[in-house]
Symmetry: C2
């Protein structure tokens, strides 16, 4: 089970946390900026993207020499994620994230705009100062792709003609692009061959798709969803996820869902309607089809792992993929 | 009068416009992003920062070889300015900028958040792809400084205890830092010595201070201000500029101004109060003292030009400084 690789990864993840604390240090102006950065440092995410980067970095011949640099790069990828969340929360008007008040809720949208920009500027400074020139342009490109994904999603809101293709394009920007960057950066920094880097990028992209579809499925299958708790936030905001889009391809379910979209748009989406949505998405086979897609992307990611050179970390990758996928299947 | 240098600069500025059009090209997704970028391309600013960069670039020995690269860098500096305006307009809730609707007014705050991020990401991509490694970190640092300036200004809003020192710190971030970057980037890219680069940075900083104080003075001395037109937007939003801060140092004027700040905070600042503010700022000597400061920074900038090696463009710099300063003195 490669306990050794797991333990090594754990040590590196602690180093990543240290790096994050450094990046999120208070600039010492005695104002809100310092408090915002400290809050961000305290909000502990799953750190999936840094983990992907560190795992990818093991396949390159330079790995032993660039271990510390990989930890720093991993922190930078997580910072890109944080900065994007700070700006996304403004747009979504989100009160909470991981159970903590969001920057925009606690300090106002105005502060959140600049706090996100500040994080981005620190990432850029580190990319140049620490000589990450070979991957720097990809960081920039990824941020552009992420913006286009969020903008695309915003333009699709409440639109009854959104296609699965548009959804996939949007989640590529929202989630898959940064997972790809994590794998690409780990591969490039550790000197992987072009072939290995391509496999790792494939892994990242498919992991990202799987992860986002899983998130969208959990909105229907989690315990909270079953108990009718505050779910379907996406639907309330007009974002049609994969289970809903597949359900709309079913002629019997479509009119009912269109009706619910209009109710949501008018701000009249209550618990009864949430139940109705869940029924339609289930009975139409939308949920099943989305789950099948998630499986397909998980298989693709596993196949990319299989095509990588033999390495102890491959099993860790496989276990990570299985954990994420089964969290959903169990429900 | 160095018509030659002026004409050469004009040709390069046309090249800068072409570069800007390339950066602001529609990514071709057929959505609002393309329209936002096109609008930004059409809103013609004064392009002061690119001009500073091109002028600074003339003092380096590599100038003839890096002319095209300077034009690209100059476009990047202008893009930083544009991105910051897009995000500032969200915070200020500004309906117009240069007579055109702002991105946030026309497309909504949400779109404006991502449009600004998209611009920043394109800047980063170009800095890496075009090999601007030597100045890249300064771009990142400058964006951080600009954020801190805007955040600082936000925290000072409606506060009766704001000091001239805080005002100077904030306008360093708002305006002077990017003028400094323009001069620094031109100097570094054209291979100026450390000594010459330092003089050019001094010039940029003092030009920036002068320019911002001039702007703040014009809010009281322009024709629009005299006619009682929609002025004192800063004061309405709680931002206390240098003429106001100096007026508050006068014991006779202070109580009246404090009263007006409270009225503005309560959203009750009308034309009569604008008149009263102008009277207090004038009678207390606040306007005169701010104008003296502007003169001081203009002199410092001129002195930095005087300490530069002999070059035809020095006269163009002097003329630019005189034009900006006299636009204010004439009133």
């Amino acid at each position: 089970m490669n306990r050794y690789e797991e333990a090594e990864l754990q040590l590196e993840m602690e180093k990543v946390e240290q790096e994050l604390s450094d990046y999120l240090r208070d600039p010492g102006y005695g104002n809100a900026v310092g408090r915002i950065l400290r809050d961000l440092g305290e909000s502990r995410g799953k750190r999936l993207r840094p983990r992907l980067l560190l795992m990818a970095g093991r396949y390159g011949p330079l790995f032993p020499d660039v271990r510390d640099r990989l930890c720093r790069l991993a922190a930078l990828v997580e910072l890109v994620h944080m900065a994007s969340l700070v700006h996304d929360d403004i747009v979504d008007d989100a009160p909470l994230r991981r159970g903590m008040p969001t920057t925009q809720a606690k300090y106002g949208k105005d502060m959140a705009v600049y706090a996100g920009d500040l994080l981005l500027s620190r990432i850029v400074q580190s990319l140049f100062r620490d000589g990450f020139g070979s991957v720097g342009a990809f960081f920039g490109q990824t941020v552009e792709t992420m913006c286009l994904g969020e903008l695309g999603q915003m333009e699709c809101r409440f639109r009854e003609d959104v296609t699965v293709r548009q959804y996939m394009e949007n989640i590529y920007g929202k989630t898959a692009a940064l997972c790809r960057l994590a794998c690409l950066a780990g591969a490039a920094e550790s000197g992987c061959s072009g072939e290995v880097q391509t496999r790792l990028e494939e892994l990242g992209i498919n992991f990202g798709y799987m992860f986002q579809i899983r998130d969208d499925l959990l909105d229907f299958t989690s315990d909270a969803a079953r108990e009718g708790k505050c779910t379907h936030m996406d639907f309330r905001e007009g974002i049609l996820t994969l289970p809903v889009l597949y359900a709309m391809e079913n002629e019997d379910a479509r009119p009912g869902i269109v009706c619910l979209i209009r109710e949501a748009k008018a701000g009249r989406f209550d618990e009864n309607q949430a139940k109705r949505l869940a029924e339609l998405v289930t009975s139409s086979g939308g949920l099943r089809r989305a789950a099948e897609d998630m499986e397909m992307y998980a298989e693709r990611a596993l196949s990319a792992v299989g095509n990588l050179p033999d390495h102890g970390v491959s099993d860790v990758f496989r276990r990570l993929l299985q954990t994420k996928r089964s969290a959903c299947n169990a429900s």
